[in-house]
Amino acid sequence: MKRSYYGVLCLCFVLLLNIFFTQKAIHAFYYQNYDATIIFAILNLVLFPAAVIIYQREKKV
């Protein structure tokens, strides 16, 4: 059976977004943009369940 690397790709993209959001959150914090910090922190939190869902969908293919 040919494996699907779709999940690996998606999760790599999630990791990219994680890095991006973390960077943005911390920069916004130092620039005293506190709303933006909270938004990016929440986005980063949401990515975790998303990653779990991607894993569960893709582990068997």
Binding site: I19, F21, T22, I26, F29, Q32, I42, F48, Y55
Partner: protein, 188 residues
């Protein structure tokens, strides 16, 4: 299965040692390396690692979010206490003095740029928090760590890695004494 097979082999040419232990049948000391139990990173393992990484990232941004919440929940402008720094006459034109403001843990620099002109900045570099110092010859604030330079009149970074201006401290001069009155917010 693998294990049993191994056992048989050892039992075959069993020679009992003096202290009643059985030596291993082979002499290359690889009996405890089992090929089937070697760790390997397969596709699924890699995906698991990535999910774990997502979890770590999520948790690591939490404290920043919490700190931001705390800042937002404070109503109105941040209040700063007035603090006496130095007598104006004790600093020559072109010289700087170090002080701390608003708390003991925030070091800052006061620079007298003219007869009547004084500016002050928190001097933790906005790149990686090294202490920035005043270079009299270059008339710039210099970070020695990675050669960051800041403009003395605005606190804006002019060269090197820093991207964010140094936080400026507002000052008032009363009867020849300089007081710090607050830290300027960044304009957004």
């Amino acid at each position: 299965m693998e294990h049993d097979h191994h056992k048989d082999k050892t039992n075959e040419n069993k020679t009992i040692n003096k202290n009643n232990t059985v030596p291993f049948a082979e002499d290359n000391f690889t009996h405890n390396i089992k090929q089937l139990q070697e760790r390997k990173l397969d596709r699924r393992g890699f995906m698991k690692t990535l999910v774990g990484a997502a979890g770590v990232f999520a948790v690591s941004t939490l404290p920043w979010g919490a700190l931001a919440m705390r800042e937002l929940s404070r109503d109105g402008e941040k209040q700063y206490a007035e603090k006496e720094i130095v007598k104006l006459d004790d600093v020559k034109v072109g010289e700087a003095v170090q002080f701390t403001y608003p708390s003991e843990h925030h070091t800052a620099l006061l620079i007298r740029t003219g007869e009547q002109d004084v500016v002050a900045y928190q001097n933790a570099c906005t790149h990686l928090l090294c202490p920035v110092f005043w270079d009299k010859g270059k008339e710039k604030l210099v970070c020695p760590c990675h050669h960051g330079f800041f403009d003395v009149t605005t606190g804006q970074p002019t060269a090197g890695p820093p991207q964010r201006p140094l936080p400026q401290i507002t000052l008032t001069v009363k009867q020849g004494t300089v007081y710090a009155t607050g830290v300027k917010r960044y304009e957004t």
